[in-house]
Every structure is written in C-alpha cells, then in structure tokens.
C-alpha cells in the first residue's frame, strides 16, 4: 500500500555509510575481483610474440578500459542531471573510485609494459595522472570535512564575510579619534583581505603574519598611558577580532582549497585523456 514500501525505503537510509564503505564495500569487492580475473588471464595466456595491445587479450583489455574510462567520466554528468529514478550518486561515486583504481591494473596489462614516446603512452600517462589526482581527492574527502565543519562553527560563508565586514565598519568608526600613526596601521589592516591570497598561500597551513597581525603588534607596543586610552583599547580588541575572523576564514579557505584543488587537475586531465584515447584508437586503426 502507498506509504509502507517507500516508507521502509526511506528508513533504510537512516543507518548510513559513506561512499567508501557503501553497501559494505560492494564496489571495492567487485573491482578487486575484476583485477584478479584480468591478471590471471594475463598470466595464463601467453600471446606471441609478446603481450601488448595488439593481442586478442590486448584488444579485449583495451576495449574494457576504454568503456570504463568513458563511463567513469560520465560521473560528472550523472552528478548534475537530476533525473528521476532510484539511483544514488553515492553508489556512483563508490563505483567511480574503485573501478577507477582498477583501471591501473587493466590499462597496465593492456599496455603489456610496452612504453615509448608516443600517443599511446601519453594516454597511459594521462590516465595515471587522473587516477593519482583522484586518489588525492579520496584522501581529502576522507580527512578534511570534519575539520571544515568544526572550523566554521555553524557559520555560513556569507555570515563569515558579513562578520568581517561588521568588524571592519566598527574599526572604521572606532579608529576615528586616533592619531595618524595608529590610523595608518588600522588602514593597512583594513586593506588586508582574503581575495588577495594566491593559490599556494591558500593551501599552506601555517598562519600568515598579515597587516592585521602587524597592526596588533604595533598596538601591543603602545606605551602604558597610550594603552590606557579607551579608544586604543577598543581598536586593539577589534583588530584582535578581525584577526580571529580572518584566520577562521583562511582555514576555511584552506580546507575548501584542499577539497577542490585536485579537481582542477582531475577534470581537465580527464578530457585530455579522452582526447588522447581517441587519438590512440584512431591512429591504431588509421595505420592498421
């Protein structure tokens, strides 16, 4: 009856597993099995004069690999086309990961360890690069999210930006009565924004001594009677808040960067790989 089956269907999701352990490593098992079978066949068949892409096994593995690669590349489409039906992107990702790793075996055996400076080895190299970046991604996905979540402490990105903006406005206001030398510090601090951070800086874990830090240092070195000035105290406190907010955002950026960076290798290389595969196949049949 209407409710019950779908109801149970939903309940099922309640005891959840991540994409790596999806359905008790279903895809890990399948991929492993595939590798074992392929390796066995390779070991047992002894093609003449030597194993390579030109033997029947070679062609078979090649076809298998090609189909796999194209299918794996389709994850990008699957992820974005919200068609109906009981598919789960988690399952796809799981399969993507493990079958992708299986490609290492399949493609290597396809090559029969024959490498050279040619389009065929180029395709192989590209594939390996894609897989390597993918492995980085898996590691990132497995390790970073926890930190990301604890770092943002229920703040949304918009809120972070807004919070910084709020601190800045208050700084502007609070710094008005100060002397020029202080103000210069404050203005420098205000100019420090995240947009400036380049790729490497975003990825680097060590805290960066930016203008805000320096401003704080300068204010710390204020003489006792200056330090007594409530305005100075307020501004320093605000600077501290700004610094705290900045470093939170920097950490957030870093985690995001870790989660994203590999895709900038993975995706373009994938397309290069597909192109190389086309060249590989066509050239083989063109000079048949």
């Amino acid at each position: 009856m209407a409710g019950s089956p779908r109801q149970t269907g939903r309940q099922f999701d309640a005891d959840h597993e991540g994409f790596l352990r999806h359905r008790r490593f279903r895809w890990l098992k399948r991929a492993a099995l595939l590798c074992v079978v392929v390796t066995l066949v390779y070991a047992l068949s002894d093609p003449q004069p030597r194993p390579n892409g030109g033997t029947w096994l070679g062609y078979a593995l090649g076809t298998l690999g090609l189909i796999l690669i194209l299918w794996l590349a389709l994850l990008g489409v699957r992820k974005r086309t919200m068609t109906r039906g009981a598919w789960s992107l988690k399952a796809w990702t799981s399969a993507h990961v493990y079958l992708g790793l299986a490609l290492i075996v399949i493609a290597t055996l396809h090559s029969g360890f024959q490498f050279g400076w040619n389009v065929h080895t180029l395709a192989y190299a590209l594939m390996m690069l894609v897989i390597a970046s993918g492995i980085f991604g898996i590691v990132a996905y497995a390790t970073v999210p926890g930190a990301l979540s604890s770092n943002r402490e229920e703040m949304t990105e918009a809120q972070m930006v807004e919070a910084l903006g709020a601190v800045d406005r208050q700084l502007e206001h609070a710094a008005q009565p100060l002397e020029r030398r202080w103000i210069e510090q404050v203005m420098l601090a205000l100019d420090e924004s995240l947009a400036g951070d380049g790729l490497l800086r975003r990825l680097s874990a060590r805290p960066r001594a930016g203008a805000t830090m320096q401003a704080i240092a300068a204010f710390n070195s204020a003489s006792p009677d200056e330090a007594a000035d409530p305005a100075i105290v307020r501004v320093e406190a605000l600077l501290q808040r700004r610094q705290a907010q900045l470093s939170r955002m920097r950490r957030h950026m870093r985690f995001k960067a870790l989660l994203e960076i590999w895709l900038f290798v993975h995706v373009p290389t994938t397309f290069a790989l597909i192109a190389a595969l086309i060249a590989h196949v066509v050239s083989v049949f063109y000079y048949w």
């Binding site: 409710g3 974005r80 919200m82």
Partner: protein
C-alpha cells in the same frame, strides 16, 4: 444626519465593495463606510507591486466589480474606476463605533461623531481588526503611524518603533538596515524579552543592536508623545529621547469584541469561532449581516460573491443560489440517488451526528473543503499506514475497522452517523487501521482544515470528536479485544491536558500510577544517572507511558517530558488497574511492554560506569536533535559533516528537481558533533505552516510529506508561521539553458539555483508571482528525495525520528 439609506455597508474590502456595487447596480440607496481614506485598505497595505491571486480558479466570480489575478496597483485601480463608474456612494474616514436601533431603523455611530441611518447593515470589516492605538498623551499626533510601507523612504530621522512583535522587529530592522539613511532607530519593548516573536528575528535584532545600528530599550513604554521628542517610562524613571516618527506595531484587537458589542452571537469561545449566520448571512441580530473574511471566507472571490449575494438577499431575492452552488452540485453529482444540493445538505445534517447543529451555510463551506464519496461494499476508505489527516463521517451505511493487522477477520463495525479516521486528524500520524465499507456507503471526507474549523466553530461536534478519538485511540493502542463498554469507565475519568514543550508529565522518583497516553506531539523519556541525564527513548503520539509504576507499584523509573507542545490523555491508575484485572490478556500485553522498557533501563544501568562514552554522547546527540524540532518531525534531513564536502550538490539537486529553486540551505542550521541539521522542512506532525493558509494549499501527501500545491496565493503566512524558517517566498526563475550547453560552453548559470543577478538579467517578465516554496520530499519523483540521491559522499540522510531516537539502537549497535 442624512436621510436613511436602505443598506449601510461597513468596510470597503472586496466583499463590502462588491456589495455596494450590487446595491448601486440595483439602484438601492446605500452608503459604503470606509475607515481609511481610500478603498479596500487591506489590499492597499500590501507591499508595492505584490501579485494578488484569484483562487480558487474553480469558483465563478459573481460580482459587479471585476477581479482577476494581477498586481496590487492594477487591482486597486480597476476597483476605484468601477466604483466611481457605478456611482457607489462612499464615506471615507468613517470608522464605525456602534450600531444602535433594530432592523429597519439602525443608527450607525461613527467615530468622527457622524451618524448614518440605515435599514440594514452589512458588516464587511474583515478579520484584520484595528491596530492597537498608542494610548498615551499625544498618541494621536500626525507623526504616529501604525504601519510602514517602505522603510527606505525615511532619512535622517529619529524613529521609535513601539511593539516587540515580529512586525515591529521587522520594521525596526528595515529602517536601520542601511546606514546611509542615517536613521536613529529605537525599538521599545514593554517586557524584558521578545517572547512573542520568531527567534530568527530576535537574533537579527540583537545583532543589529550590537553593530550599533539601532537601540533596544527593554521594559520601556512611551509616556507622552511630543513634537520632535518622546517621553519614556523606563524601569528607572522617565527619560526623554528625540523622536521625529513613531511606528506603533502593538498588534491589532480582533474585531470580535466590536462585533459582539454589536450584539452578535459567535459559535464558540475559540479564536477561530465565527459569528452565527443564517443562509442569508444574517446574524443573530436581525438586519445585521456579516460577510467576507469575518464570515469565514478568506478568499477575495468568495468575499466578492458574498457581497453580491447578501445584497440580493436583502433585496428580497431568496431564490438566489449561492455562487458555490455549481461547485457543490458538481461535487455531489457523482453520488447515487439524484438529489439536489439542498437535499444532500439536509441528508448530511440529518444523518451525521457531528453535523447536527451546523448551519447550512457552514455546511456548504465545509463541503467546499471536503469530498462526499460513495464506497462500494468492501472498498477501503483508507488503509493502515496510509498518511492522511482527514476525517470521515458516514452519511449512509456502515463501515468495518480491521483492528488487528494480523488477521483481517477481527473487525469492529461503525454505524451510520459515526466518524472514522479521527486519530489521524488528531495525532497527525499514519492510519492505525484499515477501514472498509461494510455495505454501500456514502461518507463525507473532511480535510484537516475543514475538520479543525468544524471543531472550533461547533463546540458540540468538537466534544463528540474528542471523546470518540480518545476512546478509539485507547482501543487501538491496547487492542486485545477491548470493547467500548470495557473502557467506558476509564474514558469517563480520562482528562486531556496540553503540555508545553519541555514540561515534564512524569518525574523520575515521584509516586503515582496514572497512565498517560500521548494524543498529539511527542515525548522524550530520560533518566538521571550519576547526575547525568540520559535520553532513553522518544515516544511518538499514540504511545503510552506510566504502566510500570502502575504494575509494580514502584515510583516512576524515568522522567517523561514533552519534546514539543503536546496533548496527553491522563487515565486514572485505579480505573485502569481495575480494567487490567478484568482483562488478563491486556495485562499480559502491558507486562510485555514493561519488560521491553525494563531491558533498556537495565542496559543504561549497565553502562553507568563508562559514561563518558557512547551512551553519554548518544543522549546528548538525541537531545540536540529533539531541540532542533525532530520531536515533531516525521522525516528530517541530516548531514553527517564528517562526510560532507560542502559541494552543495544537495541544494543543486533540489533546485533542479523543483523548477530551479532550492528548498534547503545546507550551510545554515545547527551542528552538534558533526551532525548537522540544515534548514529544510521536518514535515512536522502538526505542521505550523498549515495553521493559517487562506487557500488551504498545504497538505500532507501519501508519504507523509507536507506539500504546498499551486493554489498558493503567496500570502506568506506559512513562512511566518514556520518556527524553523524553512519556507521561502520566491518566484519561479527563468528557464536555464540545457545542462549540456553549460558543460560544454558554460552558457547559463549551471546546475542548481540561478544567482539573483542572472535571474534578473534573464527574467521573462516582472509579472511572475512569488509563491511559498518548501521541501515536498520530492513527492511524485520516483527515487525519493533528490538531496539524498545526489549526495556524492553519503553525508545527506533522511530519517524518521523513531529510527534515530531510541537508545535501543545503541544497544543493537554494541
């Protein structure tokens, strides 16, 4: 004092205006009394450019005024023109104070001292009522206003907002939003906290105050309004602050007091109660008619039709059939035995007990939100585990209830005139039993709103339903062959009490042997161990507690507190004990239940030592979830942030499977121990959003999802009522270019909700109306909720709270 008119119409809203138009058309002498300085003030107060909807589309408009969906301005203009064209005689600034005299010679006293003599009076004043006025010296000065159309238009002013409701807070925020306006905004709150307003609003307010954009003055109220300044009563004496403008948002007094003052009887004491009306909209005071929202018709079309009708009636045209006649006729046509609508109405009122003292008018209204169906013998009215909150009243024939899901043979017969399905209505949970037609049956299915209105407006019906529901609930709960007679004693002494969220109904260690049945809402069972509160389990509506103390006579072994606002039925222990003695197998059942709970207690006791570990963690988590509204949730989206990579694919999927608007905000929301509750609908058992939906566009679907259908008029009530802020008002964005063209050439904004900028740039026309959108659990999309399907890492999960909130789960996991 002018000469007497035939009809005095109070209020120039859609209904009043339509009535006046009819009168003008018929050439009846009339006067239209409008408090404001322009027609239909309510719609006038809509924000600029708001799209006014014309629902239900099925209903034919019968009025001399035209009306069609469109912009506020357009609608108002047409009405102004037509009013002028028809020569309606309007009296502006005429606020009615009292109605004296009787039919044929009424004297309507106006606030401005004027008087109007009329033979009949038509009250079309709607339900807005009058804003509560500033009752202090100078409260009537020009710069005191009671609403705020456009916060942006005030600059460089000292503005004081009086009133701590959502309206007041929103105005204050609006005025102080942009520092460029250099407004000095102060909000006054008589009490010490903002209890009456949404937490989200309060948070924003405090944030703004912290940022120095506005000032909050607690326990402060205006003492005297002067030119350019305001005298305040504060906790520590009086104080004067500069003030160029006062915005008083102190709520509005419902018009009921005024109506009753006019000597008009209401159907009951409840808030939803309506005036008692004859089929001709005549109230208990002869000659005074009530139409429009006040008569229980919130929709513009209804109102305008009534305006037309009432004038026709007054004009002596009694053969006039209401405008909803065709709808009803069409609804009833399919039924066997060709009866006219009126015959059907009589039959229903005659046969069905709860309809016995319902006026034909109310019945018509009820039927508009209901369906009358005939069932073939054996055909199910509803099936166990269906979700459905509708109430069935049996007009002809009888139905059988399969009380035991084990064998369909064990049945209870419910005869003509009785009701079924009330448990679903009261508890908002799935159907507890299958009900089939015993023979040919004709039954009325009242939608939840209709049923609730009935309960509210017809006290007798309310009482009947309540008793039946309690009785049935208990029978269903304890099953084991009990009969109504067996439990009669218990029922008689049973009492229904409402419990605030967090209030304890049972306290660990206290003595007492009452049995508590959770009628609606849900409860959390907790136990204090080593000074720590351990969350034992979560009890949905329809379960009972307290049997342990009754059976073993020991003090309560655990505390039971309401997770959300709930209703419990308290059954006196002694009566119940006697029942148990009479019914050994019931006793056995109770024993079994008790054993189960004992195990859990034992499990917890066993865990005492290592309490820094799992159990502790678990009960904190559970507590957190309950705090976040899982208590009343039926299905909620959780995100395991140890897996969430923040790709927002859930949001994108949601947007792409629901015409381009995301119904969830992944980032926002509370997090505890990496368990994140994003802002998205929890599909509450008793959805707050359903509370006040003029077109009754919010329903519970087949899977228990709460959905807003496309009859939504975009009034925004649901958005305001939702305590979790998961409903948004937005217009369907323009169509995006195909995904392929985005992937290949980056044309369009890509998957997910298009950014504002893009939507503005590509908007087809600015005429797209805003509608309320919320999670519908992807109902009708096979494969289930898109957010879960589209999560690449499996971080997003949907759960029903029962599956999560039981420590026994933990026991299993070990």
């Amino acid at each position: 004092m002018s000469e007497r008119v035939r009809i005095a119409i109070v209020g120039s809203g859609p209904s009043g205006l339509s009535a006046a138009a009819r009168a003008a058309q018929l050439g009846l002498s009339h006067v239209l009394l409008e408090r404001a300085t322009h027609l239909s003030d309510t719609i006038h107060k809509y924000q600029k450019g708001k799209h006014v909807m014309a629902t239900p589309s099925a209903l034919v408009l019968r009025s001399d005024m035209e009306f069609g969906a469109g912009k506020r301005e357009a609608v108002l203009d047409t009405w102004d023109q037509q009013a002028a064209a028809l020569g309606i005689h309007v009296m502006y600034g005429a606020e009615v104070q009292a109605i004296a005299g009787e039919k044929g010679s009424f004297i309507v006293a106006l606030k401005n001292g004027g008087q109007v003599a009329a033979e009949t009076v038509v009250l079309a004043i709607g339900t807005q009522g009058n804003p509560t006025l500033l009752r202090c010296p100078g409260g009537d000065m020009g710069h005191v206003q009671y609403q705020l159309d456009d916060p942006g238009e005030y600059v460089d002013e000292h503005i004081v907002v009086v009133g701590s409701g959502d309206a007041g807070i929103e105005n204050a925020l609006g005025l102080s939003a942009d520092p460029a306006q250099r407004n000095t905004v102060t909000i006054l709150n008589r009490s010490a906290d903002f209890a009456r307003s949404k937490p989200a609003n309060v948070a924003l307010l405090h944030e703004a105050a912290a940022a120095g954009r506005l000032t909050i003055r607690l326990e402060t109220s205006p003492a005297e309004v002067r030119k350019g300044e305001l005298l305040l009563d504060t906790r520590d004496g009086q104080e004067i602050i500069p003030c160029d403008r006062i915005i008083a948002r102190m709520g509005s007094a419902p018009p009921r007091n005024f109506i009753e003052a006019c000597g008009i009887a209401f159907t009951g004491p409840d808030r939803e109660a309506l005036p008692v009306l004859s089929p001709a909209f005549e109230t208990s005071r002869a000659g005074v008619h009530v139409i429009g929202a006040l008569a229980g018709y919130p929709l513009i079309k209804h109102c305008m039709n009534q305006g037309y009708d009432v004038v026709e009636f007054i004009n002596g045209n009694h053969s006039l059939k209401p405008a909803d006649e065709p709808i009803l006729a069409e609804r009833l046509a399919s039924l066997p035995g060709q009866r006219s609508v009126d015959q059907w109405l009589d039959l229903l009122r005659g046969n069905i007990d709860i309809f016995s003292d319902v006026s034909p008018l109310q019945l018509r209204e009820l039927l508009l939100d209901s369906t009358v169906r005939s069932f073939a013998p054996g055909e199910p009215l509803f099936v166990r585990n269906d979700t459905g909150s509708s109430l069935f009243a049996i007009a002809e024939g009888s139905v059988v209830v399969e009380i035991d899901k084990g064998d369909p043979a064990r049945i209870v017969t419910i005869g003509q005139g009785q009701i079924v399905g009330e448990v679903g209505l009261i508890s908002g949970r799935r159907r507890g039993a299958t009900v089939r037609a015993g023979g040919p049956v004709i039954a009325v299915e009242l939608s939840r709103t209709a049923a609730l209105r009935l309960i509210a407006t017809v006290p007798a019906a309310g009482r009947a339903i309540t008793r039946v529901s309690i009785e049935r609930q208990i029978l269903q709960m304890f099953g084991s062959g009990l009969t109504r007679e067996d439990i009669a004693e218990v029922i008689d002494s049973a009492e229904v009490t409402t419990v605030r969220a967090g209030e304890a109904v049972l306290t660990e260690g206290e003595t007492g042997n009452d049995i508590l049945v959770i009628r609606r809402g849900s409860m959390a069972v907790e136990k204090t161990i080593g000074g720590k509160t351990v969350f034992l389990s979560y009890l949905p509506a329809g379960s009972y507690v307290g049997e342990m103390a009754l059976l073993d006579g020991l003090p309560r072994s655990a505390t039971v507190r309401a997770a959300v606002r709930s209703e419990v039925i308290r059954l006196p222990g002694d009566a119940f004990a006697r029942l148990l003695e009479r019914k050994p197998d019931l006793q056995r059942k109770a024993m079994a239940d008790m054993a189960a709970r004992r195990d859990i207690n034992a499990f917890i006791e066993g865990r005492k030592e290592q309490f820094s570990s799992s159990v502790d963690m678990y009960s904190e988590t559970a507590q957190f979830l309950v705090d976040n509204g899982l208590g009343e949730a039926t299905d909620v989206l959780l995100i395991d942030e140890t897996l969430c990579i923040g790709c927002d694919n859930c949001e994108k999927a949601c947007a792409d499977s629901h015409d381009g608007l995301s119904r969830l905000d992944r980032e926002a929301g509370r997090t505890f121990a990496h368990l994140h509750v994003p802002t998205s609908c929890r599909h509450c058992e008793h959805p707050h959003c359903m509370a006040d939906c003029p077109p009754n566009a919010i329903h519970r679907g087949a899977d228990g999802e709460v959905v807003i259908d496309d009859t939504c008029i975009g009034c925004g009530n649901c958005q305001r009522n939702c305590p979790y802020g998961v409903i948004r008002m937005d217009a369907v964005p323009p169509k995006k270019p195909s995904l392929l063209s985005w992937m290949l050439f980056g044309s369009g904004p890509g998957p997910g909700e298009a950014p504002e900028k893009w939507r503005k740039a590509h908007a087809a026309s600015d005429e797209v109306p805003k509608k309320a959108i919320k999670c519908d659990m992807c109902s009708g999309i096979d494969g289930g909720p898109a957010c879960v399907r589209a999560c690449p890492t499996g971080a997003a999960i949907r759960i029903a709270p029962e599956t999560m909130l039981s420590v026994s789960r933990l026991a299993k996991e070990e």
